[in-house]
Amino acid sequence: MTDTPVAGKLPGTGATRPGLAATLSRRAQDLLLSDYFVLYLSLAYFIILIPFLPNLSNPANISNILSNMWPLLVVATGQTFVLTVGGIDLSQGSVIGLTSVIAGALLATAASGSVLANAPIWGIIISEEGGLLAGHTGAIWIGIAAMLATAALIGAINGISVAVLNMPPFMVTLVGLIVYGALAIWLTQSENIRPLPESFIQLGKGDIVSVYLGEQDEPRIPRRQIYSFVTYPMLIAVGIAIAASILLSRTVFGRYVYAIGANRRAAEISGVPVRRVIVAVFVISALCAAAGSILYSARLEGGRPTLGEGAFLLDVIGAVVIGGTSLFGGRGRILWTVFGVLFFVLLSNTLNLMNLSSFHIDMVKGGVILGAAMLNVLRERLIRERSR
């Protein structure tokens, strides 16, 4: 939300190179500028790799790719709003960890003193009998409400710091990443809290439609041969993405987000409620992080303070940017983010199938993000040339 450099505006770079529009065929240009470009890219990548990685197209693997997509999509949806308004939210990672701890501390059905005895919450919120809400009716809904409320508070603090106090979003949310992350780890002394109630775990794993592809005559279906496709996480993620897409592209609020991202000062003079919108956007981002935390915690069956740490933010921001949302604000779409997330998850999955170590995976991922950023530059240049 601070003044961002605009490509081509730097002194001395006024000269234009031979037009990109002239060197690319019309069809290639249309493809590059299409909303579905990253989807085509993902499909092409998928098809090309099938001969080399036969397991890639296994139902089990596809089910796995999908299950990795949903929580990331939920978090990336929130990030899309922040990037579109011209900001960045690094604190999403720590919001996930902190809210996961809250889920554990409130909902755990039991806990072990030998693991958690040193944690400051031991004996206050959580004990041998489990979390504060263990055994209460409707506990998981209260627990989820607590997670969302915490996230909303953090989002509001971020938003107010940026919109009202005019602090740079990078700084504000970087501090958030450090502080809330440390808080989460301190609360449990870095220990995971488990087990969580089955009804909560269902949110991260529960199948609605699953496919059995094993032998028909076996009396009992082995668990590993059931491949789930329509799951609770899928419904939750798709629901959030559709709602977010409508909010961003069809509502007055969404128009405000684009206007502020494109030119905050012009938006302010035009009567756009700039501060309110920015605060709301950061709240949305944190809420999406918390929703992602619900899916991750449920899937991992525990409250984990280290959820969302490390290279996770790379996945989130990388997926959004690969989708085509601008890091400088004013351009972004939830649909793009859906495809960006698909591409990213597919990428991680194929690298895993190649039996690369996690270090290699991160190195390759970094290279792919760089390549995607390059493609984005080409797209921006093409848009500029076409509009001249």
């Binding site: 002194p11 001395g12 006024g14 000269a15 234009t16 529009a21 409508i246 069809r250 509502t251 007055v252 609020f253 969404g254 128009r255 405000y256 684009y258 206007a259 494109a262 030119n263 000062r265 012009a266 938006a267 302010e268 003079i269 035009s270 009567g271 756009v272 409620p273 004013g330 351009r331 509009s387 001249r388």
Partner: protein, 499 residues
């Protein structure tokens, strides 16, 4: 007189559309050539070819009778051409001398030879009568001084031909005077100048020759003595413009629409009071730094004010821009690139921005897209916008005049009671100016009040019912009698006010 640069049947097409077509022109050495034309006439494209930014589609150029084919800007600089753009190519975080030497520092023992660059810089600054230390940061200079530094840079590179693109738009009258003295001096030192401007009076005063472009072609050319301002205008727009200003269609009414009472903000303004009636166009004249734009920002709630009151329709105004827009205020900022437009967004998004909340449909506040398309198309007609598909074309693709119409147009759906226009015709060509004046008249005729802030006294005298003069944060005088006394108004604006 010999020719420094000759353009022979020069053309440039973008995507098959000619921006410049068959221009043949001689630039005489040691003289100032004025290049005029409406926005989009092809002046910039022509100059960009000379400056090596664009390459001609056909035709040729000769520099001192040898073929000249610059591949890039570096080649043009090498040849001896300096291009001073409207937006200066300077680094505000570096010093004057660093700016001059940015493309090649003399070194001593591997480090920058500060002494050498400072002494050379002092020499160049002296040539321009610029009394500044070489290690002054560029960011601390006024716009006029920055421009002189850009000229110093051209001299440092021993440019023979210096092209000025709209050099006066952000200068005060005094700075303009100084710039003209410098250009005169460059000419007497044998330098050649191409001067592009919309201010025809300046062109008449400064230039030896004039070339007029229209629709990519050179339509008139000759010594300045062959041209009067009416002839220049006729050549530029291809028809006779009966007047520079439209006739006013309404008289001010009796109702006081807006009122400022003793607005005071220490260091910015003092005891500013005035009233505007319905149907009235009130002019606010002042030099840069007189507080005129600050007053507009205070009226609109963008800047704070320590004491005083602003009333609109008898009710006191408070709060930020949002509340004041709702009360009936509209503000066309002087800075349309930074504050007026979403440059990358489609024209229709710009036109609907102020009134977008009117298009929210319950229960989800979804925007009524057909409604917006209809309303923005209407506005686009009302302001006689010349554009392609407004739902696709970005604002930045428009010419300056049409961009300004968008900035004005985005307020029209609100039916504002008081329209504040800050420098509404800056960087806008003659034809579009006329259309903007016509819009201002219409707003007044429909019962609104219009406050025009301008540093062009002529346009205020042409359009306003009264002219207030601001000087060092105070309203010094208000003139109402026609014919206007230009002398008295200027005297009030320039008068030294006891602090």
């Amino acid at each position: 007189m010999s020719h420094l640069l000759t353009l022979q049947d020069l053309s440039k097409a973008f995507f098959g559309v000619h921006a410049v077509q068959g221009v043949t022109l001689n630039i005489p050495e040691g003289a100032v050539t004025g290049l005029i034309g409406e926005n989009g006439a092809g002046k910039s494209t022509l100059m960009n070819m000379i400056g090596g930014i664009h390459q001609p589609t056909s035709g040729s150029m000769y520099w001192r009778d040898t073929p000249y084919t610059p591949r890039d800007t570096a080649a043009a600089t090498e040849t001896g051409i300096a291009f001073i753009h409207q937006e200066l190519n300077l680094f505000y975080n570096l010093t004057i001398s660093e700016n001059l030497f940015i493309d090649g520092f003399p070194k001593r023992l591997g480090l920058i030879d500060r002494k050498a660059i400072d002494s050379r810089t002092r020499e160049l600054l002296k040539l321009l009568d610029l009394d500044l230390a070489p290690d002054t940061l560029l960011g601390e200079l006024s716009p006029g001084e920055r421009q002189l530094v850009e000229i110093a840079k051209a001299l440092h590179r021993e440019a023979e031909l210096i092209i000025f693109d709209e050099p006066t738009t952000s200068l005060t009258p005094r700075e303009i005077e100084r710039l003209f003295e410098v250009i005169d001096r460059l000419r007497s030192n044998g330098k050649t100048v191409i001067f592009i401007s919309h201010v025809l009076g300046d062109v008449e005063r400064l230039c030896d020759h004039i070339a007029v472009m229209r629709d990519g072609q050179l339509v008139a050319e000759g010594p300045t003595s062959d041209f009067g301002i009416p002839e220049m205008i006729q050549a530029m727009i291809g028809r006779e413009l009966s007047a520079l200003f439209p006739d006013r269609t309404a008289q001010p009414g009796a109702e006081i629409v807006a009122e400022a009472i003793n607005l005071t903000q220490p260091g910015v303004m003092k005891d500013v009071s005035f009233q505007i009636r319905s149907g009235e166009i009130l002019g606010l004249f002042g030099l840069m730094g007189s507080g005129r734009s600050e007053l507009a920002r205070v009226l609109f709630g963008l800047d704070p004010v320590a004491s005083g009151e602003i009333k609109l329709g008898g009710k006191p105004l408070s709060g930020g821009p949002q509340a004041r827009i709702r009360a009936g205020l509209a503000f066309v900022t002087e800075n349309r690139r930074e504050e007026g437009l979403l440059m990358d967004a489609p024209i229709s998004d710009n036109l609907s921005l102020v009134s977008i909340s009117r298009f929210g449909r319950t229960p989800l506040n979804l925007v009524d897209r057909p409604g917006i398309a209809q309303a923005t198309a209407d506005i686009s007609d009302q302001v006689t916008l010349k554009a392609g598909d407004i739902s696709v074309q970005p604002a930045k693709a428009l010419s300056g005049g049409n961009q300004q119409k968008v900035v004005i147009g985005k307020w029209l759906m609100e039916d504002p009671r008081l329209f504040i226009l800050d420098e509404p015709t800056r960087g806008v060509d003659v034809g579009a100016k006329y259309e903007i004046y016509t819009l201002a008249d219409r707003l007044a005729a429909e019962g609104g009040a219009v406050l025009i802030i301008s540093s062009e006294l002529e346009e205020l005298m042409g359009m306003c019912d009264r002219i207030m003069v601001m000087n060092q944060g105070e309203i010094i005088d208000t003139f109402a009698e026609k014919p206007w006394s230009q002398k008295a108004i200027l005297a009030a604006a320039f008068r030294e006010v006891a602090a």
